[in-house]
Amino acid sequence: MTSAEIRDEILDILSDIAPDEDLSGLEDSKSFREQLELDSMDFLDIVMELRKRHRVQIPEEDYGHLASMGSTVTYLEPKMRDIVAA
């Protein structure tokens, strides 16, 4: 997956987790929590969905990398580089 494809995948996961939110103006450099109503259970949903969809394992000590779209994509890029986008 390319960085752009990973970003699209995260957006798709977020649209499931936060179906009432408008994600069209999401800024990659700002934290998710600044822009969306997400709590710790929602972040665990992101982790779970990545695990279920792509078998990507994210250790608990790395959860901090999921703070923003930018940091999430940067963190996931090496983990998802060899995954072929659906």
Partner: protein, 419 residues
């Protein structure tokens, strides 16, 4: 004519009234629609397919859930929670209460459930099967979804209620039990407003269907609207249904003070136990429960005009209830018996509350809705006064008695009066 019962001996702050009701039923998502379907003889049962069990029938509720709940919370919570939130939201909206000014710490939530957690547990096991039962794929939402207080807790979260909330597990007597709990808490002044009744999400668990099927108690019919047929010789079991029904209960003194419309006054109730079998009912105990409710209400059997029966469409259950009712109401010419499950199936935890609700408009229109699908009345169920297939207009309706029984031998009876 003045109605004489136990309420004459109670001060207004011990008399409990129903001032609103919110509900969703397979044949109507508010009281008016639901009542209209019952009087018109319209079933809400449809064909249904659920994993592993396959084709069957069920009563499914259709309501605009997003009216009271965000899609995010719907995803995070349970169907029972959503049904409860709809029912509570509708009850409040129709109550005349200025909700913004209500002290939320003085509101109690008492929700009857037959079971809870089966849906989510089945879903998670189904899900992790795809991952070779690796439990790291098990949802972190499982525990908050399956704790037994979940449906009541979701209502509290949704409405910002900080008073007590919990569920009452009472098998299929739970709807009545939830109301009874609300009455008791109001009388104890544990709360000022009780949101009480029952909910069910059981149509989403294959285990309920499979268990009834294994027991030989799951209804089947070429026409789904004919599948639920209590008292008919061709009945062959239960139609599982979802539903919710929550009342706003208040002390009469409070209802009067705010000029509330009163749907009914709760005159009496009783709960007892067969202690004889896991599944099979005991007509002697059922009759004792009905008599206990009448006695507490200082009522004679012939003062009741409508008895809402519990009958589910199983041979033994229907026969046993009729035996109990024949015993209690022998010689009572004015009493009429009907059955709501024949229209909507068995709404499990909601049944007691929702079946009563469909009868409440009879206090105004004096119409006793029927029991439908009785093509050949089982002689063992031929109660004098059984209203079959067509509604009956009565001279007056002062008291309604509501039966609701459940597995492990729990029996519940609620008596309400015209106000």
């Amino acid at each position: 004519m003045t109605l004489r019962d136990c309420t004459h001996e109670l001060p207004d702050d011990q008399r409990i009234v129903m001032t609103s009701v919110g509900l969703t039923s397979p044949n109507g998502h508010n009281l008016e629609m639901y009542r209209e379907s019952l009087v018109a003889g319209r079933s809400g049962v449809k064909d249904y397919n659920i994993r592993y069990v396959g084709d069957t029938h069920a009563g499914i509720c259709e309501f605009e859930a997003v009216k009271y709940q965000s899609r995010r919370d719907m995803r995070r919570g349970t169907r029972a929670g959503t049904v409860g939130i709809w029912s509570a939201g509708e009850a409040i909206a129709r109550s005349g209460l200025e909700w913004a000014n209500v002290d939320k710490s003085r509101v109690g939530i008492y929700v009857g459930i037959t079971e809870h957690g089966n849906v989510e547990t089945e879903n998670e096991i189904y899900s992790i099967k795809q991952y070779e039962y690796d439990t790291t794929y098990w949802s972190h939402h499982h525990n908050p979804r399956t704790v037994a207080n979940n449906p009541a807790g979701e209502i509290a979260l949704n409405l910002g209620i900080t008073g007590p909330h919990y569920t009452i597990g009472a098998a299929c007597a739970a709807g009545n039990a939830g109301i009874i709990q609300g009455v008791q808490m109001l009388r104890l002044h544990e709360c000022d407003i009780a949101i009480a009744g029952g909910v069910s999400e059981s149509v989403h668990t294959f285990g309920i269907f499979a268990s009834f099927k294994s027991q030989g108690a799951l209804a089947s019919n070429a026409d789904p609207t004919k599948a639920s047929r209590p008292f008919d010789t061709d009945r062959n079991g239960i139609v599982v249904a979802e539903g919710g029904c929550l009342y706003i209960l208040e002390r009469l003194s409070d209802a009067k003070a705010r000029g509330a419309t009163v749907l009914a006054e709760i005159v009496s109730y009783a709960i007892n136990t067969d202690a004889t079998d896991f599944v099979l009912p005991n007509p002697e105990r059922q009759a004792q429960c009905v008599r206990l409710a009448l006695k507490r209400g200082k009522l004679n059997a012939d003062q009741i005009q409508i008895v809402s029966t519990h009958a589910t469409g199983t041979t033994s259950g229907d026969n046993q209830e009729c035996e109990a009712l024949r015993d209690v109401f022998a010689g009572c010419k004015g009493v009429r018996f009907n059955n709501t499950k024949s229209f909507i199936g068995h709404t499990m935890g909601a049944a007691g509350a929702i079946e009563l609700a469909g009868n409440l408009p009879a206090f105004q229109d004096r119409v006793c809705h029927a029991t439908i699908n009785v093509d050949n009345l089982d002689p063992k169920c031929a109660l004098d006064g059984l209203v079959i297939n067509q509604p009956q207009e009565l001279d007056r309706v002062d008291y309604i008695l509501n039966n609701s029984f459940g597995m492990l031998g729990i029996n519940s009876v609620l008596i309400v009066r015209r106000f």
